[in-house]
């Protein structure tokens, strides 16, 4: 094996320029793919983090049919107190759950005593909400990063449009599920930066204030947002929770509750999928580059060394050994390209991280600095693909070499 490797490397250095060009091509391909994966992957993860940690949570539980009518914020599809109690009991026993936050979502009229407009609000337990969506606090650009009873966190655009400032008194008027109207005064305690995605422009009040406005005698919850300890286990836990809640049935005997992962709730999931699809296409392009360049080089190598192949075959080299010799050459080309590509690729990713050159806007969030990171598994997969394709690309020329009749090969001019 060691000798095959030695001969392969020497043969590669026999045609230095060709070897350098081919390995450069492979290395550039690897650099490009690693760069793309790290930047697009980091962008995707950052956005998912923004969405889930700013307002959505990793998954949510609703009463069946609520999500389908979520634009209306239907109070009659809230979870009943008994169901909420049961759900909280189940969630508190799950080791995967880091935090959860029950929410009453409702729409109402917002008045500054001068002007009136519509508003969508979440009634939450502040401590539970801040634990479940930890970026919520960072979205409060003005005022205190907390929420007490009688206070309201106003969405930035609404506050600006209505000229509402910190400390101002405002009125929220809402209709409860029986159709009666009620109003309550709130003090503006904070201004919330908008976040992209559903619920990104909602305001927040304390859950008990929400109950008071809606004249709820017992707490009826619109949704429970859940944060997991390990985000990557979201899909598995969604299925698990779905199973645990399947026992809760409505009067028709159908499941009373629905579990939705962030993928099902956020339109950004489709963008994330498109990024993944583009990554696959980029990888396919890399495969094509490696396949064509190595196959070309190996075909040339076999053609130029026909007499040499005849000689080694004549002196008794088995066809399988000849096959191995040429495959080893292709393998070496791939490995050299991968090593150079990985080293330069990592260096570029490191420089991008240190420099902070890559910034972008997402929705109303401007100048987000992207820190490209690379999952070692991605690097391993890319390297493995390139090396595998190198071997595959060498296979046909190597087979041709191994099947050559020594007598014909020796006669070749």
């Amino acid at each position: 094996m060691g000798n095959l490797f030695k001969i392969a490397v020497r043969n590669l250095f026999r045609y230095k320029r060709r070897t350098i060009l081919t390995t450069s091509l492979i290395a550039i391909g690897v650099i490009f793919v690693l760069g793309y994966i790290s930047i697009s992957g980091s962008f995707k993860n950052m956005m998912i983090g923004q969405i889930t940690d700013s307002m959505m949570g990793h998954l949510q539980v609703h009463r069946k049919g609520y999500v389908a009518s979520i634009e209306n914020l239907p109070l009659n599809l809230n979870l009943k107190p008994q169901a909420v109690k049961k759900l909280e009991g189940i969630l508190s026993q799950q080791p995967e759950v880091e935090a959860y936050s029950p929410r009453i979502k409702f729409g109402g009229m917002f008045s500054t005593f001068v002007e009136t407009t519509n508003v969508r609000l979440n009634g939450v337990y502040p401590d539970k909400e801040f634990k479940t969506v930890p970026l919520l606090a960072s979205r409060i650009t003005e005022g205190q990063k907390a929420l007490n009873r009688g206070e309201i966190l106003l969405p930035e655009l609404l506050a600006r449009g209505m000229k509402a400032k910190i400390g101002d008194m405002v009125v929220i008027v809402a209709t409860n599920q029986d159709g009666s109207v009620n109003g309550k005064q709130f003090k503006v305690s904070g201004i919330l930066e908008s976040a992209t995605g559903p619920g990104g422009r909602d305001g927040y009040v304390h859950i008990e204030d929400a109950m008071e406005v809606l004249r709820m005698s017992a707490m009826e919850i619109s949704e429970v947002a859940i944060r997991l300890k390990d985000f990557s286990k979201g899909e598995a836990f969604t299925q698990k929770l779905d199973g645990l809640l399947s026992g809760e049935v409505n009067k028709e005997g159908k499941p009373a509750l629905e579990v939705h992962s962030w993928q099902q709730l956020s339109p950004f999931y489709n963008i994330a999928r498109m990024i993944d699809m583009m990554t696959i296409f980029i990888q396919l392009m890399l495969i094509a580059v490696v396949l064509i360049s190595i196959m070309n080089v190996m075909i040339m190598a076999v053609y130029e060394r026909i007499r040499e192949i005849g000689t080694i075959a004549a002196i008794g080299t088995l066809p399988t050994k000849i096959l191995s010799m040429f495959i080893m050459e292709g393998l070496c080309l791939g490995v050299i390209g991968v090593v150079i590509g990985n080293v330069i690729g990592l260096a570029i990713i490191f420089i991008l991280n240190v420099s902070g050159w890559v910034t972008f806007d997402f929705g109303r969030q401007k100048g987000l600095v992207l820190s490209p990171t690379l999952d070692p598994m991605n690097m391993l997969v890319i390297s493995a693909i390139v090396i595998f394709v190198s071997v595959v690309a060498s296979l046909q020329p190597a087979l041709k070499a191994s099947r050559m009749e020594p007598i014909k090969a020796l006669r070749h001019v």
């Binding site: 095959l4 020497r10 026999r14 000689t311 080694i312 002196i315 008794g316 088995l318 007598i407």
Partner: protein, 245 residues
Amino acid sequence: MSLIVAENISKDYQVVAIKVTKDYGAGENIVRALRGVSFEIEPASFVSFVGPSGSGKTTLLNLIGCLDKPTEGNLSVVGMDVLKLNRHESAQFRGDNLGFIFQDFNLIPVLTVYENIEYPLIIVKNTPAGERRKRVMAVLEAVGMLDQKDKYPDQISGGQKQRVAVARALVSDPKLVLADEPTANLDSKTAYTIIDLMKKMRNERKTTFIFSTHDQKIVGEAEIIYSLADGELVDKQVKGGKQNG
């Protein structure tokens, strides 16, 4: 009709050919390169096949070297009926029993003199490193190339290249060495040196040497000379007398 007829196939002979015929092409374009050639070669012989271009020398050497198969007839090399060998077995047989010296030397350009000689021991015979070194050094010394061992083929002369080729052919201790026009690309002085070297190796190692040539001066160095013409054996001379079968 061949002048020389092999009486029997015996393992005492290194090569036994009985009515060996070789055709190339097919149908109306068939070319008969060998026409019922029969002969025997004893171990440790120093044999030459001579004849003009197109007489069938190279074809015969290719058949003895298991690089090709006869169309008709029987051919035994080192006791093996070569017709029965498949492609893989032929390669193995060549590696185990035969050595080759080519007209154009055919050294591997990316390997040094030492590595070229070592090559059959590594790739073909899987000889252990210590044993390998011993054998390569011995054969390098025998062919007088010890001081050139670290040079690459393009750094040595034609005569030196052929010495290396002789060493490569001998390093795995073959029973039979086949040399197709080994001196054709050398000047006459170097050609004699190579033939002398081959003879010396035969004397020391008792290896059978079969070579082809069309150079009459070199032919005289062989102990047994088979003459070929138009694919037939027309003459056999044994040094010290003439024998027509």
